[in-house]
């Protein structure tokens, strides 16, 4: 068995003295793991950092086996991301969410494309730190949708209206309008406005937190709990950082 293509590093862990177990998100083969000879050595260690774009070749005698990767660095976004704590937190959250949510070796090209675009956005965009977290929310919306648990934000679940949608029902994952949701507002999830319109650069910190709470609720219920997983630590750290930023701006 053999395949080759592009991939994004999700994680890499040391295996033995100088080798590594690599986990990547590839376009054609989904989330995939494999052994890399010399992967934690001086030459390949820097290449296998989370977020790096690689050209990969995977080979295994038997398809079910772990297999072995041959890797080459295509491009590293880390040079611009590493110096900024919030960018780095967002990148770590993105790769850990993909790693925790997708089944292994299942093809999800839309998630790959979205992850690639969002990493590049975090790398290049200088506009608004909360916008990077909003990019994570969009990525998570895509993951939910690809796994069959997508949110229906097209119209109000109660009235059928497509105007003034500000809530999401935690039961049906459908949008609810302000008027219909008012009596139950403490039981409904808040729908941030940036998810309803075109992609915008300016997203408030509070809206980003609401977005993460929304997608986090459904990911936890539909994906992570089913796999007996807890929410990824990197995502939790980003969320608590945003909460403390929001508190500071209120004070």
């Amino acid at each position: 068995m053999e395949w080759q293509g592009d991939g994004i590093v999700l994680s890499s862990s040391k295996f033995g003295e100088t080798d590594a177990l690599l986990e990547v998100m590839s376009r054609e083969n989904g989330r995939h793991r494999g052994f890399v000879k010399g992967g934690s050595g001086k030459r390949l260690g820097p290449v296998l950092q989370a977020g790096n774009f690689l050209t990969l070749k995977w080979r295994s005698r038997i398809e079910e086996n772990l297999g072995r990767f041959t890797v080459e660095l295509d491009r590293s976004p880390l040079g611009l991301i590493m110096g900024d704590g919030l960018r780095l937190m967002t990148l770590s959250a993105m790769v850990s969410v993909v790693s925790a949510s997708l089944p292994e070796r299942e093809n999800h090209p839309a998630v790959y494309d979205s992850l690639k675009a969002m990493i590049e956005y975090v790398e290049r965009s200088d506009v608004d730190p909360a916008g990077w977290a909003a990019a994570l929310v969009r990525l998570e919306m895509g993951i939910l949708s690809d796994l069959g648990y997508g949110l229906d934000l097209s119209e109000c679940a109660a009235t059928g209206s497509d105007e003034d949608l500000v809530y999401v029902s935690p039961k049906s994952a459908r949008a609810v309008s302000r008027a219909a949701g008012r009596p139950y507002h403490d039981k409904l999830l808040t729908l941030p406005s940036f998810l309803m319109g075109p992609v915008v650069e300016e997203v408030g910190t509070r809206a980003a937190i609401e977005g993460l709470n929304l997608t986090g609720y459904f990911l936890e219920r539909q994906v992570w709990q089913v796999r007996h997983r807890t929410p990824p630590q990197a995502r939790e750290r980003l969320l608590s950082k945003l909460v403390s930023m929001a508190k500071k701006s209120v004070d």
Binding site: S11, S13, Q49, A50, M82, L88, S96
Partner: protein, 201 residues
């Protein structure tokens, strides 16, 4: 299987093979060298191992490994007590100290935050660092952690925790290695070097 030596030598070979850089074959070669140089190497080595094993301690101040507590670095009054250099583990501390470019004191963190390995802030010596950083005479904390995603995530986390300590928090620069040629550098390093460019003096 033919037996060329006794079980004691087998045990020695198996223990040597657990050391970094040694596999079963090189462990056999090392064991043979030790056996051949019994008086000049083997016995002194055994004594040295015994002595160190008896007296080795983790420094209660910085987390360094030494035969005295506090370690030789923390006990050296000639060192600059106003600067703390934070390193991931003892190997990094020894590497930095070997370079003889830094004359302050250290704090060994004991690892980095890692979502994959489940290492959180409570598993590291963060509280010890913060209590040392808030001491009156400390003015600067240098974060000398690896330029990896985990290392830099930890750096940013520590910088945030040290915000209220009233000290200057700095980190090692990223960029061109000494003797490095631009043509051979990866674009991540080049981008970092370009971003941290400085005035030529």
């Amino acid at each position: 299987m033919p037996r060329s030596h006794g079980s004691e030598i087998d045990t020695l070979i198996q223990l040597l093979a657990k050391l970094p850089g040694l596999g079963p074959r090189s462990a056999r070669r090392s064991a043979l060298q030790l056996l051949k140089k019994r008086d000049s190497v083997m016995v002194p080595l055994a004594n040295a191992l015994h002595d160190v094993a008896d007296s080795i301690e983790i420094c209660s101040e910085c987390g360094n490994l030494d035969t005295v507590n506090p370690c030789h670095i923390c006990g050296d009054i000639r060192r600059d007590q106003t600067t703390i250099c934070v390193v991931e583990d003892v190997a990094d501390l020894w590497a930095l100290d070997r370079s003889e470019t830094y004359r302050g004191i250290y704090q060994v963190l004991g690892g980095t935050l890692s979502a994959l390995d489940g290492v959180g802030p409570d598993d590291l010596n963060v509280e010890k660092l913060i209590s040392r950083a808030t001491q009156e005479d400390v003015t600067e904390v240098i974060l000398a952690l690896n330029a990896t995603v985990d290392g830099q995530t930890t750096s940013h986390y520590l910088a945030e925790r040290l915000e209220d300590a009233g000290v200057k928090v700095t980190a090692l620069a990223h960029g061109l290695p000494v003797g490095g040629e631009l043509d051979y550098l990866d674009d991540g390093t080049l981008a970092a070097a370009l971003r941290s460019r400085g005035v030529v003096t």
